[in-house]
Amino acid sequence: MKVLMFGWEFPPHISGGLGTACYGLTKGLANNGVEVLFVMPTATGDEDKSAVSIIDASEIEVSESCRNVRDFLEKVQFIRIGSNLIPYIDPQEFTEMLSNLQQGQIEEFKLGFGQKYKFSGKYGKTLMEEVVRYALVGAEIALRNDFDVIHAHDWLTYLAGVAAKRVSGKPLVVHMHATEFDRSGNNINTEVFDIEKMGMREADRVVAVSHLTRNIILNKYGINPEKVITVHNAVDFQGFEHLHIERGVPEQIVTFLGRITYQKGPEYFIEAANKVIKRYPNVRFVMAGNGDLLKRCIRRVAKLGIAHKFHFTGFLRGGEVKQMFAYSDVYVMPSVSEPFGISPLEAMRSNVPTIISKQSGVAEVLRHAIKVDFWDIDAMADSIYALLAYPALSAMSVKHGLNEVNSLKWDAAAYRVSEIYSAIIKK
């Protein structure tokens, strides 16, 4: 079995969880005997090719034979560059970019043939243009290669997936790692929503990373439930090392780590922290990360008068993240909406007991994390307190949590995906 897979990023060059997930899945598929042709906008050559053949879309010339795809793409001409939808961007960059856009002209783009297009492969301001061009190249790649099934990851690649299906007639699987509702709450970008919906309608199967995501797909996009299948993500901790760090403060540390945005629920963390600090002196809270709610959070902490116990670190890079986990006694992920959520797994892997919101996909696969509703700050405070004050609880949670995290294997997830392939190929 051979699959043509469209992704947007691949390790080592990643900016979100998507690349990591694609990497894990392709490796798992290889172990299940599925051959993967992985297409990405721009390859740098240092990707791990042990499990996949990588096609660099920037190296592909688009030929005239893709005319029917062009027709299809004209229908999605509502897409204009200049739309400021950038899913995984640093908020500061975002503000700069927005002001640039407002100053500059909004350019139309034209579809060119007979030439290569140099993709940036980033989530920059030409994102929409790249998405459409990627689709064109995708069709070309589909013409030139032989495969049994197409698999497209997240909305960025859906047009490419659909285009490839149009020219090849092969079945299409689209993979929802996050929906527009997860990224933006209810103020969605309708263009992205339309691409997501179109991709899922055209697809033969939709893979959702959690039941939570599946429900959003059914309820908000109105996709036929029969073709939406949940395959939970897994995690690959090969080469993971434990850090041992001497702590500078005597207090126990409770950590929030993630983008400080609406989706991640940082404000609930602050309110819960306030409740704990009032009753339990031996604790400090840390909020690590950056985001558009950061300033508001700092103001709130100051207003509550807990700033001497509540600290902000700003954005943390890879090594610092590991350090932060090593410092922590409790990790909290109070996400308002989280399609899956890898970071609790990283925390548990670092032996940090973890509290996660029930509104996260990862809550469906973890039994040894403590689960609360994101809005229930009393329950959150109570759980934080319990993990700090009752050592038996954290010991137990850590011990079993580690086993549990280690049992979430990509091979198992990939097996389920390969079953989905088989089902639609036979059809």
């Binding site: 009753r279 031996n282 403590i370 009393d378 109570d382 319990a386 009752y390 609880l393 137990m396």
Partner: protein
């Protein structure tokens, strides 16, 4: 020789805890979810206790005393009946009057005290026995421990308290090739007889009765009696031990469980040599065949038939040990309200809710569990326990110098054992020794932290 069928039903309802946040610690000391407890008790009374009692009464009258059963009713359940459904007590009284019902002794608060504190265990059994006697005019002579927990030591303890027989599980790993369908004796004190539950035949009613995936569904009285008589062709006794809530609650009335029970006596009694007997009568009729060696505690729960459903993980052990660490202090304070809370916090159900086995051991556990996860159960229980321990600490009559003496005593000071008066002059220095003696505990945990120390 006559063969016996022995029915014993367990009646118990736990005092479920309310949602108790850590903010409440030290502020609010009402621990129980009165609304849930009342609602559930009234529901079970209507579906099970009342209709089942009236059915048993009807059967006893119909067969003129040939149909007999035994009950064990936990003290905390009796308290709930008195509070929320006194008519249930009256209907048990009606049954007691027939003389065909035996009441067994157990621990008052359905506790696991037999595993940790002989003193508390004996006291609870005594209160329970006198409660039963005062309500039903029947002095229990046979004992059944919480969840049928039994070991050689527990058995000998029970024997020392004057009981003649005890009920426990016919656990396979204990019996090996032996059959549960005979009378056995305690390995230490052979005067204590043991009745073993036939778990196959008991669970056919208690767990499998309504299971349509079961190859023997639907189970009729006649079919069931064939199984019993097959068993009794060789063996002496069939002990059918189960939760009373099987009738109408676990197996709802619509499954036909009441009709099954209604026809069972007739089907049995039509076979001449089989009679219904209460545990005491079984002991009088039959001779024990052998002593039974049970070095480690067994119970009637789960596949393992051990105590791991209550004390199988770190959470349960921590909560359990913390609770009983306060036992001596509670006794010293001797405050009725504290003692009552102490007893109710001992109910085995609280520890059952913290069991992580139900992740694999499915249906039975989740059915009985008000919490989503064992972690929530533990957090809630520990919050309550923290408050309870604070109250005990506050109520302790002793002044600080004396607690210094106690610490010194714990640290092996012989002087502290001498009469207090003689030590008065030295006592002033003692508190300091006490503080220094426990520097680690003092450093790590600030004093305001509720759980500190004890």
């Amino acid at each position: 020789m006559e063969k016996s069928i022995c029915f014993y039903f367990q009646v118990h309802q736990p005092d479920r805890l309310r949602l108790y946040r850590f903010f409440d610690i030290g502020r609010e000391s009402h621990y129980f979810d009165d609304f849930a407890n009342r609602t559930i008790l009234r529901r079970v009374a209507e579906r099970c206790y009342l209709p089942a009692n009236s059915l048993l009464l009807e059967l006893i009258k119909k067969y003129n005393g040939a149909f007999k059963v035994a009950f064990s009713i936990s003290g905390v359940a009796i308290e709930q009946f008195e509070r929320y459904a006194p008519e249930v007590i009256s209907s048990f009284r009606e049954l007691a009057k027939t003389g065909c019902v035996e009441f067994l002794a157990e621990t008052y608060s359905h506790s696991l005290a037999s595993l940790i504190s002989p003193a508390e265990f004996k006291e609870q059994v005594m209160i329970q026995s006198s409660k039963i006697e005062s309500l039903f005019g029947f002095k229990p002579a046979v004992f059944r421990n919480t969840e049928l927990i039994y070991s050689d030591l527990i058995g000998s303890m029970v024997s020392d308290m004057g009981f003649t027989a005890m009920l426990t599980e016919g656990a396979k790993h204990i019996l090996g090739w032996k059959s549960p369908n005979y009378l056995y004796t305690n390995a230490i004190n052979p005067r204590l007889k043991l009745l073993l539950k036939n778990f196959n035949l008991s669970d056919d009613i208690a767990f499998r009765f309504s299971n349509r995936a079961w190859s023997n569904w639907p189970l009729t009285s006649d079919k069931y009696v064939t199984w019993i008589s097959d068993t009794l062709a060789k063996d002496d006794i069939v002990n059918l031990f189960m939760d009373y809530e099987t009738f109408g609650e676990h197996q709802s009335a619509s499954t036909g469980i009441f009709e099954f029970m209604r026809h069972l006596p007739e089907a049995v009694l039509s076979r001449t040599n089989v009679t219904f007997d209460t545990p005491s009568q079984v002991c009088a009729k039959h001779q024990p065949v052998a002593p039974l060696h049970v070095p480690f505690p067994i119970s009637w729960a789960d596949e393992e038939r051990d105590t791991s459903a209550w004390l199988g993980n770190e959470l349960q052990n921590e909560a359990f040990n913390k609770l009983y660490s306060a036992e001596s202090d509670v006794r010293r304070v001797n405050d009725p309200k504290l003692l009552s809370d102490f007893r109710r916090l001992q109910e085995s159900d609280h520890f059952y809710y913290m069991c992580t086995k139900f992740f694999s051991d499915g249906a039975v556990h989740s059915y009985f569990n008000p919490y989503d996860t064992p972690y929530e159960a533990f957090i809630n229980y520990m919050n309550v326990l923290s408050d309870f321990l604070l109250r005990v600490e506050k109520a302790l009559p002793t002044a600080p110098p004396i607690s210094g003496t106690v610490i010194a005593q714990r640290n092996g000071s012989k002087k502290a054992e001498a009469p207090l008066k003689a030590q008065k002059s030295k006592l002033k220095a003692k508190p300091k020794t006490g503080m220094v003696a426990n520097p680690k505990a003092g450093d790590k945990k600030p004093k305001s932290k509720p759980k500190s120390g004890k």
